[in-house]
């Protein structure tokens, strides 16, 4: 089946979604996705950041689709034509979605462990605006421990349902879900229950924001000061292939390996994740490739000058005075 995304054509098998097809073409046309996760069935469709415009439904039915569709849950039809980054309307719509995700998200990046590898940070950076139009009190929740190793900070949650799907699909005895509704919805466990199984730690890896964090790593170190290496050990529960984050010779945390799209390659067990914090426990294969697109990298690497100009432009538009001209 042929599909054209942003003018690039690709042949894909039946049943492929628009998002998957776009990822096959490459990152230049792939829409951002906050809730979709390739390895989790029925994930996606919630966050609406991956919306795209379908300007031609198929060869058989060349009409455009009336509304933007969630690319992660829409299967392609033969001859479909999709617009993503080339459509200004769509980018405006996506900006709206990002704004909705951000209005109740706390601005606690400076103290959030996810900062630096946060999908929402990246998304806000790429599609958000410099100033908020939301002037009301943001939603707040108490922090909860789910299990002795996982901290749930619901205030940061964007309700992507990924952790719910992990608990549903890769572990048995589901005790984790969403309670309440509307903007009062929260991720929670059954009353007095904790998530207690060998693979529970994976909810941390799938969380796109800092809502679920590793208590053994919390406040230890900013992620950009740690060095990720691919490592493995013999494990009876999982493949034992992990990514180990080092500071000097110290193992600060262990996570699953992630692919180009920031999705876990193989889920790992809690033993590997929490109980082996010595370098001698691991056979180190070599440095991990880290995708340098995050906000933090932007400040350090090749785009620094562009970035400064961009910030200046936004500040001017907002009526800020240039720093050196201030009285």
């Amino acid at each position: 089946m042929k599909v054209t995304i942003d003018g690039k054509e690709i042949d894909v098998p039946k049943g492929t979604t628009i998002l998957q097809a776009a990822r096959m073409i490459g990152p230049e046309v792939a829409p951002p996705a906050m809730c979709y996760y390739t390895k989790l069935k029925t994930s996606g469709g919630y966050c609406r950041t991956c919306i795209v415009k379908v300007t031609q439904g198929s060869t058989a039915n060349p009409n455009p689709m009336p509304k933007p569709v969630a690319s992660c849950r829409t299967e392609i039809m033969d001859g479909m034509v999709v617009e993503n980054f080339i459509s200004p309307d769509l980018l405006e719509a996506r900006k709206g979605v990002v704004e909705f995700l951000l209005i109740n998200h706390p601005l606690d990046c400076p103290v959030c462990d996810q900062a630096g590898e946060c999908k929402l940070q990246d998304l806000g950076y790429e599609n958000g605006s410099a100033k908020t139009r939301y002037e009301f009190k943001r939603r707040e929740y108490e922090m909860i421990d789910i299990g002795d190793k996982i901290k749930l900070h619901m205030t940061r949650c964007i309700l992507c349902y990924r952790c719910v799907k992990v608990c549903d699909q890769i572990t048995d005895n589901r005790v984790h879900g969403v309670v309440h509704r509307g903007d009062a919805s929260e991720i929670s466990t059954y009353i007095e229950k904790i998530i207690d199984n060998d693979f529970s730690g994976n909810v941390i890896d799938v969380c796109p924001v800092g809502a679920l964090t590793d208590k053994t790593f919390r406040f230890k170190q900013r992620v950009w000061f740690t060095k990720p290496v691919e490592a493995h050990r013999k494990c009876t529960k999982c493949s034992g292939k992990t990514r180990v984050w080092l500071k000097g010779d110290e193992v600060l945390r262990v996570t699953a390996r992630k692919d180009q799209w920031d999705e876990v390659e193989e889920f790992i067990c809690n033993e590997c994740r929490y109980d082996h914090k010595k370098t001698s426990d691991w056979t180190i294969e070599g440095p991990s490739h880290v995708n340098r697109h995050s906000v933090i990298s932007q400040n350090h690497y090749e785009h620094l000058n562009d970035l400064k100009l961009q910030i200046l432009k936004q500040q001017k538009a907002l009526g800020f005075m240039e720093i050196n001209k201030r009285p």
Binding site: R48, A70, G96, F100, Y134, L159, G177, H180, G182
Partner: protein
């Protein structure tokens, strides 16, 4: 007098019982369909009748039925959507409360057409007493042999169950209803697949409104072509309208589609004019989610033609100058009504009822409510009108289910037609008393 097909017997004493209902010609359509017609013939009659879904969207029922997948060895279901939760709509309650057997008769006839051995009536939690009435009627029908094994000696068997919902607006959306019926959290599913292919427990399912199902009985009795003669163009048959607001005679009226709006509001047969001799200011023609229209646009279209109570005429001019027939929740407002206050009520409702699955609706509805609260508090600025407009445009069409649109349309229409009122409030900085809301609900802002 317009013809009545659904509630013509509503004043007969004891019509809720099977005995009286039968004596007034009840269950004739079941007899006719089961004894003299094949299921496909029944579907054909419904197609010929041009009946359109009465729940709000107005999708042709016959077409919906013909989409139903019919794989071998897989059960099919008919589900009746009695989760009538659109503010301003109360026609289904009236029908189920007064003539419950009309619904059950329709369920049997429709199920026969669809080949469904089991059907469910999903009633909203607030209608608990109505559920009891319907359950009692079902028990009567079982006893008299209208439900159960081998109905009327034919080989058609059918079971009908009532399920009471928890009272969520979102469960009126068909896929959320199915989730709720399956015992899960009432979140809308992502479509496709549509219920006609994978609905209840993954089986092909048709979900129809109470009124739609009840309308199948007169269609089978009188024939689809005869039914199609009532009404105008593609709006055929009769429709129940729940009239409320500042009118002399609020209530449920059955109209022949095609009655002029002006006649509906001012004639003695229907609403009986605006109460206390006031002037009309605006009308919400089809339940709270459809765009509000000012008097001049509801009585006449932008082209100057008189507006009729049909799907097409009310929709004339698109959303710029038109509205929708929707579910038939006809809310009339007099000259003293504050559109902003009314909009706040609607928006608060949608905020409260958003399921929270997808972000534009979850965050946007609450945001809009808070901004409208500012208008009522007298703290809004003129720029807030623009902001409100921008927020609604970013919710509309970006969500999983139509709740996003339902929340965005009233805001858009109120600003489109009554922008000056918003600006005046913003300028005057006057406080509008809404303390009664705070007593009812905790309003966060």
């Amino acid at each position: 007098m317009g013809r009545k097909l659904l509630i013509h017997n509503d004043k007969v004493p004891g019509i809720h019982s099977l005995e009286v209902y039968r004596a007034h010609g009840g269950y004739a359509s079941v007899e006719k369909a089961l004894k003299t017609m094949t299921p496909d013939q029944v579907t054909d009659e419904v197609k010929k009748s041009g009946l359109r879904g009465r729940g709000g969207a107005g999708f042709p029922t016959g077409l919906k039925w013909s989409f139903l997948a019919k794989p071998e060895g897989v059960p099919r279901y008919l589900v009746c959507n009695a989760d009538e939760s659109e503010p301003g709509t109360f026609k289904d309650r009236y029908l189920m409360e007064i003539i419950p057997h009309a619904l059950i008769e329709g369920m049997i006839t429709s199920s026969y057409a669809l080949g469904a051995k089991t059907s469910y009536i999903y009633i909203r939690g607030e209608y608990f007493y109505v559920a009891r009435i319907v359950e009692k009627a079902i028990a009567e029908a079982y006893e008299a042999g209208w439900l159960g094994k081998n109905i009327l000696g034919t080989d058609f068997s059918h079971d009908c169950y009532v399920q009471v919902g928890g009272g969520a607006y979102i469960c009126g959306e068909e896929t959320a209803l199915l989730e709720s019926l399956e015992g899960k959290r009432g979140n809308p599913r992502i479509k496709p697949p549509f219920p006609a292919v994978a609905g209840l427990w993954g089986c092909p399912t048709v979900v129809n409104n109470v009124e739609t199902i009840a309308a199948v009985c007169p269609i089978v009795n009188m024939g689809g072509e005869e039914y199609a003669k009532i009404g105008i163009g593609k709006s055929t048959g009769t429709k129940l309208i729940s009239a409320s607001g500042h009118i002399n005679k609020p209530g449920v009226y059955e109209i022949e589609l095609g009655v002029p709006v002006e006649e509906f509001i001012y004639s003695e047969e229907y609403c009986g004019g605006i109460r206390n001799g006031k002037k009309m200011k605006a009308v919400v023609a089809g339940g709270s989610s459809v765009p509000i229209l000012p008097t001049e646009l509801i009585l006449k279209t932008a082209k100057g033609e008189p507006r009729l109570m049909t799907y097409e005429s009310l929709g004339d001019g698109g959303f710029q100058t038109g509205t929708m027939l929707g579910s038939g929740g006809f809310i009339v407002m007099d000259e003293d009504t504050s559109i902003v206050k009314n909009l706040f009520t609607f928006t608060r409702f949608y905020h409260h009822e958003s399921c929270g699955q997808c972000s534009p609706c979850r965050e946007g509805t609450g945001w809009m409510e808070k901004i409208l609260k500012k208008f009522l508090n007298g703290t809004a600025n003129e720029s807030d009108v623009e902001l409100l407009w921008d927020i609604q445009s970013k919710i509309e069409g970006k969500t999983i289910c139509p709740l996003g649109e339902a929340a965005a349309w009233p805001v858009a229409a109120a600003i489109r037609h009554f922008k000056q009122e918003f600006l005046d409030i913003a300028k005057s900085k006057k406080f509008v008393d809404v303390s009664h809301y705070d007593k009812l609900y905790k309003v966060r802002a």
